[in-house]
């Protein structure tokens, strides 16, 4: 039986999301939270397989919950559910370990389809996010900007290629056709990109914390 964390402050939307979640994961047990504080308490108390997390909450940002989940329950799949479609909001969540994002205003059937895809390991990737990821890794690969102690996480040529195609506005199925790869393989590349983004970001954050003397085990 799946356990799902649902963090959303608007009751109507929360119930709408809950219905959808149950549609995708029929026998799931959904734990609801309206605040970051409650969600963090749930994260430390229970184990989840999937988490639907809103970003803009009355007492903070859902990114903290994403990070806490990634830290304590790495196997849990965090999906950001938001009204924001811009990379300024989404990129930090992806860096913190979110495995995809969904825009809340989508029609029910699109939303369900995308959630299903994410749960099957096919996260979406928009051109602006792809551009942001490219810029992030380009900066990481400049030796003068990268601290020596930072573990070197770099994308493979294929992953880069996929990112470049996405950044140009091609959809993942289109890229599969272009590169003569299966849809499944393309999805794996995207998954790897998300994972590497998170690993690199976490290492960077840890190093930064250590540098500031804030690192605690």
């Amino acid at each position: 039986m799946n356990k799902i964390l649902l963090l959303e402050d608007l009751p109507e939307i929360r119930s709408w999301l809950k219905a959808l979640a149950l549609q995708v994961f029929p026998n799931a047990q959904v734990s609801e939270a309206a605040r970051v504080h409650d969600a963090l308490a749930l994260v430390s108390a229970e184990r989840f397989e999937v988490a639907l997390i809103d970003l803009g909450l009355p007492d903070g940002s859902g990114v903290d919950v994403v990070a806490a989940l990634r830290e304590n329950q790495p196997e849990a799949q965090s999906v950001v559910v938001t009204i924001h479609d811009d990379d300024d909001h989404l990129f930090p969540a992806l860096q913190a370990g979110a495995f995809g994002y969904l825009l809340k205003e989508q029609p029910r059937e699109h939303f369900v389809e995308q959630l299903q895809r994410i749960s099957q390991g096919e996260p979406p990737l928009s051109p602006s996010i792809a551009r942001r990821v490219i810029a992030y890794f380009a900066a990481q690969n400049k030796p003068q900007e990268r601290p020596q102690a930072l573990p070197h996480v770099s994308l493979t040529d294929r992953e880069n290629e996929v990112l470049l195609w996405v950044a140009k506005g091609f959809t993942l199925p289109e890229i599969g056709v272009q590169l003569n790869l299966s849809r499944h393989t393309i999805a794996d590349y995207v998954k790897q990109i998300y994972r590497k983004l998170n690993v690199s970001s976490r290492a960077e954050a840890a190093l930064e914390a250590q540098r500031l003397g804030l690192f605690r085990r």
């Binding site: 109507e12 939307i13 803009g56 009204i83 479609d85 809340k104 602006s128 506005g169 959809t171």
Partner: protein
């Protein structure tokens, strides 16, 4: 340390050089002057009689002491040769023949008599050069022309008695100042006048002129040095020139209110001062000043008069000669040092300075040779006006370099001004940029706040409508409103967007939407590197137009295929959306259906100085052609 070694080395090399130079000068100049045969007592040169022989009797008498034994001397009679230890006065008796009634006025011309003379013709005094007792008039540099009154002349032999007052060599500091009498020329006054005038001009007038000129120059340079503490050599040069000119007074001034000993003592001190100033000038001009040398020079200035006093009046010449030799060596060594430094730092100045200083050095060596009786004194004395000439050259050089420095300063000031102007402009630019940045930051912050508010309030409410409305139409309208709101927020940034990014975003959205609606999408846009930028407003408006066009294709056309073409021109870009649907039905008035949002698309295009053309007909599909300036 290293420069010290270098200068020591330069000194030693210079000394060797000087020794060689001295020997050479002596060989070249001394040999011919010494070997002279005894001439006859009277030489005739045209109308002139040159008296080269006299009877000499030392004595202070008022008339020629005929009662005492006389010695026969050859003129010129230099006392340092004939009576090295004795002072004057000395009586000279010269005889010459003259016609009783000459047709022209006769005169006697004495080129040099030192220090002063009284002249008697046939026992009657006819001329006195000035005081014959201390302080004795100093006529050493003044030629004497004495008219011979016709009334006193005898037919036949005439007697010319000359009483000369002078000093032994040891009581004066230079050989030119020791007692002596040159040959006496007797002849028509008109002829002698010319020679007298010429001698006087070269020995005195020239010195006067140059003294005045160099005094002016010295004062000028002194003022410049005074006003420019960073150019100390100007000060030294001015002082050196003025000091030299003070020394020149010894030649020009005949009646000084001081006795000979005092005057010579002062002159000795004066030479020490001139030497000190010259050395200081050269050293500071070459930036080689040293505290030790300065102290030594000051010490020398004090020591010279002290040793002269200690040695007493009877050893003045020998002590002074030693000092002067030392001073000349100092000056020449400094010149060498100076040229050495100039050769390494200011080559362009080297040759002029080298020639000038070599000339000066040669003069000094010649003068020394004269003082040490290795050379006969040259008449006129070269040093008297050649030295100031050297000063003139040096002074004009100083003025020139000063004016050049002024020009440089002017140029530097100009360049500084322009640099200040540049810096000011740069600062202003930076300030403007900072202000702009600040405005941008504030704007960005405000935009974020507005965006946050919109999303939190309006967005949340619209979202609630989207997901709670029973009516599909209302939730779809709310969804569109939400998308519209998001786009408006994006437009708030005002940041231009690369065309390539805009195209990618449009492509992704269009292909996704068409794909979700089951319409085959065919998107083509330039793939090469695009450098153009699109304003935020153009991006937002174009997104709206494209979104509307695609919505029309999805909702109304019933098309199975949609082509999107995007082309970029020099100054515009064109977006064509073409479907194979059923076209837009005409209204009764011949216009296209307003419900399809055509009017708002056209309006948006017009707002951006572009145009949106719609071609459609039932059964032919629809082509929307959007052209916008970049």
């Amino acid at each position: 340390m290293r420069s010290r070694l270098r200068s020591d080395y330069a000194f030693s090399r210079l000394a060797v050089l000087l020794r060689g130079l001295l020997v050479f000068a002596l060989m070249a100049l001394c040999l011919p002057c010494r070997a002279q045969a005894d001439p006859p007592p009277v030489l005739f040169e045209g109308e002139l009689r040159i008296l080269t022989s006299a009877l000499a009797v030392p004595g202070p008498e008022l008339e020629y002491p005929a009662d005492r034994p006389a010695t026969k001397v050859r003129l010129p009679d230099d006392w340092w040769v004939s009576r090295p230890k004795a002072d004057g006065p000395v009586w000279y008796r010269l005889t010459f023949d003259a016609p009783a009634q000459p047709d022209r006025l006769l005169a006697a011309y004495i080129e040099r008599v030192c220090s002063n003379a009284e002249i008697h013709l046939n026992g009657r005094i006819i001329y006195s050069g000035g005081r014959m007792t201390e302080p004795v008039t100093r006529n050493c540099h003044y030629p004497q022309l004495v008219s011979l009154p016709a009334g006193l002349l005898h037919d036949g032999e005439n007697v010319l008695d000359i009483k000369v007052m002078g000093y032994a060599l040891q009581k004066v500091s230079t050989r030119q100042r020791s007692g002596g009498l040159s040959v006496v020329k007797v002849g028509p006054q008109a002829v002698l006048e010319a020679e007298y005038a010429s001698d006087r001009f070269w020995s005195l007038t020239m010195v006067e002129v140059i003294t005045v000129a160099t005094t002016m120059l010295g004062l000028l340079v002194l003022c410049l040095g005074w006003l420019n503490p960073r150019e100390p050599h100007l000060l030294w040069f001015g002082l050196m020139t003025l000091m030299w000119n003070v020394m020149s007074v010894r030649i020009l001034a005949r009646d000084l209110p001081l006795d000979n000993g005092t005057v010579e003592l002062l002159l000795g001190a004066g030479w020490a001062a001139v030497t000190a100033l010259s050395v200081q000038f050269l050293l500071s001009h070459a930036n080689l000043r040293s505290r030790t040398i300065e102290i030594c020079l000051m010490l020398q200035c004090a020591l010279v008069p002290m040793t002269l006093v200690l040695a007493g009046p009877h050893r003045l010449f020998v002590v002074m000669s030693a000092w002067q030799l030392l001073m000349v060596c100092e000056v020449i060594a400094t010149m060498g040092l100076y040229l050495f430094a100039v050769w390494h730092h200011r080559k362009e100045e080297f040759w002029l300075m080298a020639v000038t200083l070599f000339g000066l050095g040669a003069l000094l060596v010649l003068e020394r040779a004269v003082q040490h009786d290795l050379l006969d004194p040259l008449r006129p004395n070269l040093a008297h006006f050649a030295m100031p000439a050297v000063f003139l050259v040096l002074g004009t050089r100083q003025l020139r370099s000063f004016s050049r420095a002024l020009q440089d300063a002017e140029a530097a000031r100009n360049s500084l001004e322009s640099r200040v102007a540049e810096a000011t402009a740069e600062m202003e630019r930076n300030y403007a940029q900072m202000a702009e940045l600040r405005v941008e930051q504030v704007t960005e912050k405000e935009r974020k706040r507005i965006a946050g508010d919109l999303h939190d309030d309006l967005g949340a409410k619209l979202l609630t409508i989207v997901h709670t409305s029973e009516s599909e139409r209302i939730s779809s309208l709310a969804r569109e409103a939400l998308e519209e709101m998001r786009l408006s927020v994006k437009g708030l940034t005002g940041k231009p967007l690369p065309v390539a990014d805009a195209l990618a975003d449009w492509r992704a959205e269009t292909v996704l939407r068409l794909g979700q609606a089951g319409v085959e999408a065919d998107w083509r846009s330039p793939t090469e590197d695009l450098t153009q930028q699109l304003s935020a407003r153009a991006f937002v408006q174009t997104t709206r137009i494209l979104r509307e066009a695609i919505s029309n294709v999805i909702k109304h056309s019933g098309a199975s295929h949609c082509k999107v073409r995007c082309t970029l021109g020099e100054s515009d870009f064109v977006l064509v959306v073409q479907d194979n649907g059923k076209g837009i039905p005409m209204e009764l008035d011949g216009k296209l259906d307003r419900g399809h949002g055509m009017a708002s698309m056209k309006h948006r295009a017009k707002q951006m100085q572009g145009q949106c053309l719609v071609e459609s007909g039932p059964g032919y599909g629809t082509v929307i052609r959007l052209t916008l300036p970049l």
